[in-house]
Each structure stands twice: as structure tokens, then as C-alpha cells.
Symmetry: C2
Subunit: 387 residues, 2 copies
């Protein structure tokens, strides 16, 4: 097991009605609150009203609305201006990963005089950040319990990650009932995102990080059990609760700390959703089986087979390559069963940019340090497998 | 899943050599350090020297030595006096659960004018505590990453738990090489303690806390794999690392939050180690199979069988009572294989105090709220099964 640091200081308020903790939690930091949210679904499902009722008497609430999926540098700049103009003390992010990611960049850029993009390119420049409190309305990214953030620069056509110890949310409200109104494809995409996060950990280097791998399997088993239920019965509390908590635990260091090497699939996906505005989780679900097919060889077969036996309950009484192939098939079938379109052509993506995206994925994703190192040609082949 | 709060703010420095972070970590809180430790094993294995070398130039180090296993109220009072007399800013606990538990009580009692025992009887009286930093030298209790503490009052013959949000360590160094010199029985007792913590969670109420149960299984699988290796090869880094991290994750809320009801086995054990100064983990290992035998019935059988199938890999192709009985047998055999004496008579305990201990266990353990509610008679029967 590699040396690691683990410091997840986010305070979680989990369960129905836990939003009641918001005033006391925000109040620790001051009176001026930047209320960040996305396209307005929170106005339809009542969460916006609930927040305003809780805060409007005691706090000065400044709204930061219309944060887009795959949040852009332009939104970050807009948020920074609001923070400065209104002497914001604390940011309240109500949404999924996009809203929370955007506020992390805003929180850090508030204290940085240069272009916020500098902080995306080099997170070591982040020294201070406004405190962030989040209310989760979509499960999957895990952003509510970690420091990471992904920002899109439309001008440069880049989608890159950033993060520092100070950009982790101070507190997060996870109320599973807030996920009841998610459309099936969002539920499916979120589940695929959660699954992918632990899969990336599972395929990091480090053979003896056993407990981390068992934690990863715990998350995958949870997604496999509850994603189909949440899609069929959107108001099934147990399903929403398990998926939400799985999402937070999938990317807070529990499964990845102690292992080494770069992630593989996310870098390849980020290019897709940077160029095509594809839902991140959908892109991941399409890529995962293709990536596994591409890397299957004498070195990786045991790991893929372990995944199949422990998670997909495939019998270990057969040839390991047979198990591995069945594992990949089971995974593809699982994502398809959630209603995710599983071919790039299904989501309107053709070969045109394969070469360009592959080049960028290798460059920005450090794919030469991945579990199975990747060249541009490897990535093109993976995109080809997804056609 | 029940509502829960999760706030584990302890910063973990995990791995060989990570003690190097001590000066910077302690330095955040001040110059006057109370250096707490136990019977002196850290003077034999070099950790004492290492700590002194790192701290002696920059800090005023006050030693608080000879904290006993099952730390007593008298030790707590001694520590409080040292804190007050030397204007201590931060406590450094170097040891296992006993040393860390003792410092939690000291840290809180430092700011309490009355008898520290008041805080054990009612943790709501804890409002403030000195910051605690720990260096782990024995894995098992999980005290390095939670708020809880168990203190023994010799005069009243009581061993009770306490804890508050402010008594959680701020930071913890877990260097697996510090566990290399642990004698086999301590390794075994620590493994049994870790196992018991997730077992208590596994048998709390809450059928749909699925991810919590899968995390519990992850910890149990880790203990089953690595405890025998660590006993056979005390310097096996992977084994020590996995056991240590399992120990911290077993009792920080990951496996128990979201489920309800009182613990069962710990209350019954605490009476044993209060009256007989038995090693806590040994007492737990003796009691667990007996408790399971006692509670096995139509209501509990599915849960016990799930444990057997998922953790002990017992075939599910048989009658569920058969699976449950094999599970209990496998568990007993596992603990025995670690070299733990498995009968109370083996550790010099006879029937004399069974009735008295049972009465106290029911009273202080809130056993009527356990997964299977217990009366005094139930507890006596469990002790009888352990003879």
C-alpha cells in the first residue's frame, strides 16, 4: 500500500429533512450567502423555496443562477464578480456536481487576482477559498465530499480538473427525497459516474491495497442493486439513500488513496463531453466496456476476473479469460439495462474528432502513467470500439 | 436507512515515515505539548526517541507516562493536572486505544471544573477540549479516528464510554512499521476488536443500510485475510497496513451510521475487562460466538447466514440454519486460529461474578434496545456458554 493522506472534513447531514441544519451551518461563516444553482429544476421541485424560507430572514442571499452542466470558466468569472461585489462570506451550492464544481473554482478564484483559469492549470496556486456548503440534488459526481472540480474552457476547448485542500465543502446536506424527481437518464448517468469512480480506483496500481478494493466492490454492489430500483421506482427511499451515500464515498479517497497511477477512463471521456456537451456519466458508461476490452491481456486478466467474480457474481470455475469476457459483457448489459445509450452513434458522435480528442486525452490525462499506459493510438482504438 | 450525521475530521498521515508531519501538525496549536504514552514499549522500539528528536528543539514537551490498559479515572485526573500546571496547548497520544482514550477524557476534563467522571456519565457536559494528535502503535480500537473513549472507574467498578464532537483527534499518524513489534496476542486481540466493531454495526437494526453492511463486510474480509499473515510474519507491511486502516475505518461511522439500536457484545465484554483486567479484544472474541449462538432464531437467521455466505464464503446451497451454525463455527475457529484463548476458564474467569456483571451490562449497555433485546438472564446464559 502506498503512503497517503486522508482528510475528509466535510460534515454530512444525511436524511430526510436534514436541510434544517442549513441556517446554523451557514451562520458559522457570516451573513452574506451566495446561493448557487443550475438551470432552475430546484424551482420546480420546491427546494429553492425551502432554502429561501430557511435563509431569507437571517441572511443576505445573493443568487448565482444558471450554472450550466459542464460548468464553464465564464460562469466561474461571473461567480467571482458576485462574491467580490457583495462581500460574500460563504457559498451555498444547491445542485449536482456541475454546480458544486463551479462554486469550488469560484471560492478559490475569489482570492486570486489573475485569471481563474490559472488555478485550473496549476492548483498549487490555490491558497485560500471561501467556505462552501452544499445541498445535493443529483448523486454521482461525489463533488459534495471532496476537493475536486472540473471546469470547461470553451475558448480553448479544454475540460480540466482542479482542487486543493481548501476547496472541499465544509458541510453537505444529502436528503434522498431531493433525488425523487430526477429523470431516469440522470439517475442512470449518476449511477454510472459513481461506478466509474471506484472502477478507476480498482484499476489503479497497488496490488496489496486490499481494503480499498473491497470498499470499491462495496460501492459497485450498491450501484448494481439500487440503480435499477431507483429508475423503476423514483421515490424508493432506500434506493435513493444507498445510491447517494455510495456516490459520496466513491470519490472521497476511501477507495483510491493508497494506490497509485493516473486514472484511465475519465480523461478519455472528458474530451467527449468537452466537444459534444455529452452527459459525463453517459460517456463513461459507453467507454468503460470498450476500455476493458482494449486492455484485456495476460497482465490485466486477473483483476478484471476478480471484478466479475466479486461484483457480478460470475462463477470462478472457468478459464480466467472467459470470466473476464463475461465480466465485460455483464457490465455493458448492466449499463444498457439502465437505459443508457451505449454507442457513440446513438448520441450523435462520429469519428471526426477521434484523433484530436485522443491526442488531448493522452496529453492532459497523463495516460502514460495509467494502470495500462495509453498512447494516442490506443485511445483512438477505444473510441472506435464505441462507434 | 436512518438519518445520520457523519463528521470525521481527523487528518490521517498513513504510511512508513509519516511521523515527519508531527512538528507541523502540532505546531498549529502551540508550543506546549503533553506527550502521553503507556507502559514504555515505545522506549524499546525506538518510537519514543523518534518523537523526542522531532519535538525537543521546538516544543516544550511534558511527559504523561504509564497510562494503563483500560485507562482509569485516576490517570485522567493525573493528565488534567499536568495540562493545567504546564499550560498545555495540544496533547500528543502515542499508543493504542488505551492511551488515546485516556487523552480524550483528559482533553475534555481540562476545561471542566467538576469531577471528570461527570463527563463520562454525561457527555453532553463536554463543551470544549484540547486538540489531540495521535501516533498509533496498536491497531484495533479505532480510537485514532473517532470521538469515543472508554474509562474505568476502579472505585465504582465501572467501565463506561464517553465522547463528544470535540474529542476526535485532529490528526493521526498511522505507520504500519510501528506495528511490527506487537506480540502475536496483541495483534490477534486488535484484529478481534476491529472485527467486533463492524459486527456490532452489522447487527444493528436497519435492513436497508446496504452500503454500510457491504463496508462492514469489506472490513471483515480484510481482517480474515491479513490477521493470520501479521501473526505469522510480524513485519509483513501489507498485512499491517491493511489491518491498521481497517481498524480506523471500522469505527468512524462508515459502517454504523444510518442504522439504529444499541450495541450488544461490547457492553457484555466491558464488564469482564472491568472486573478482571482482561484484554478487551480477547473478551470480545470469546463472547462473539456465544452471543450469536444465543440469538440464533427465525428472526436473526438470515442476517447470520448472510455474514457466513458473504464473509466466510459458506455455500448458500443449504438450509439457512445450517449456514448460520457453520458461520458461528467458522468464526470461533478463526479467532482460535489466531491464538486467542476461547474459554473464560482459559483466562482465569469463573462463574462468581456472572450475575453481577450481567446486571450491570444490561443497565449500562442499554441492552433492551439492542438488535436482539437482552435481559440479565440472557447475559448470564451467554457468559455460561463461554465457560
Amino acid at each position: 500500500m502506498d503512503n497517503f493522506k486522508f482528510h475528509v472534513y466535510t460534515e454530512i447531514f444525511f436524511g430526510k429533512g436534514e436541510i434544517k441544519n442549513l441556517p446554523a451551518t451557514l451562520g458559522k461563516y457570516g451573513k452574506n450567502v451566495l446561493f448557487a444553482y443550475g438551470g432552475g429544476s430546484i424551482k420546480k421541485n420546491g427546494i429553492y423555496e425551502q432554502v429561501m424560507e430557511l435563509l431569507s430572514e437571517t441572511f443576505n442571499v445573493v443568487e448565482f443562477a444558471n450554472i450550466e452542466p459542464n460548468p464553464t470558466l465564464d460562469s466561474v468569472k461571473r461567480g467571482v464578480a458576485l462574491c467580490r461585489n457583495h462581500s460574500i462570506d460563504v457559498i451555498l451550492a444547491v445542485g449536482g456536481g456541475s454546480v458544486i464544481d463551479c462554486t469550488k473554482a469560484v471560492a478559490a478564484a475569489r482570492y486570486y487576482e489573475g485569471d481563474p483559469w490559472d488555478l485550473v492549470l496549476d492548483s498549487r496556486k490555490i491558497t485560500k477559498a471561501l467556505p462552501i456548503v452544499t445541498v445535493l440534488t443529483m448523486a454521482g459526481t461525489g463533488s459534495e465530499m471532496n476537493r475536486g472540480s472540473v471546469i470547461t474552457n470553451k475558448e480553448k476547448m479544454l475540460k480540466l480538473g482542479m482542487g486543493a485542500p481548501v476547496t472541499m465543502p465544509q458541510a453537505t446536506v444529502i436528503d434522498p427525497t431531493y433525488l425523487f424527481t430526477l429523470p431516469p437518464i440522470q439517475t442512470a448517468a449518476g449511477a454510472a459516474d459513481t461506478f466509474s469512480h471506484v472502477l478507476e480506483s480498482y484499476f489503479k496500481k497497488g496490488e496489496d491495497a486490499f481494503i480499498q478494493d473491497k470498499m470499491s466492490e462495496a460501492v459497485m454492489l450498491t450501484v448494481i442493486k439500487y440503480a435499477p430500483i431507483a429508475i423503476k421506482e423514483p421515490e424508493n427511499y432506500a434506493a435513493r439513500a444507498n445510491l447517494a451515500w455510495a456516490s459520496s464515498l466513491a470519490l472521497n479517497g476511501l477507495t483510491g488513496n493508497g494506490k497509485s497511477g493516473a486514472w484511465s477512463i475519465h480523461a478519455i471521456e472528458h474530451e467527449l463531453s468537452a466537444y459534444y456537451d455529452l452527459t459525463h456519466g453517459v460517456g463513461l458508461a459507453i467507454l468503460i466496456p470498450a476500455w476493458l476490452k482494449h486492455i484485456l491481456n495476460e497482465q490485466s486478466v486477473d483483476r478484471i476476473a476478480a471484478l466479475g467474480v466479486n461484483v457480478f457474481k460470475i462463477s470462478d470455475q472457468q478459464d480466467k479469460f472467459e470470466i473476464a469476457k463475461k465480466t465485460i459483457g455483464a457490465m455493458e448489459q448492466f449499463f444498457a439495462s439502465l437505459g443508457i445509450p451505449m454507442r457513440l452513434t446513438d448520441v450523435g458522435i462520429d469519428e471526426e474528432k477521434f484523433e484530436l480528442m485522443a491526442e488531448k486525452a493522452v496529453k492532459y490525462g497523463a495516460l502514460k502513467h495509467a494502470y495500462v499506459p495509453m498512447t494516442k493510438e490506443d485511445v483512438i482504438q477505444i473510441y472506435q470500439l464505441c462507434k
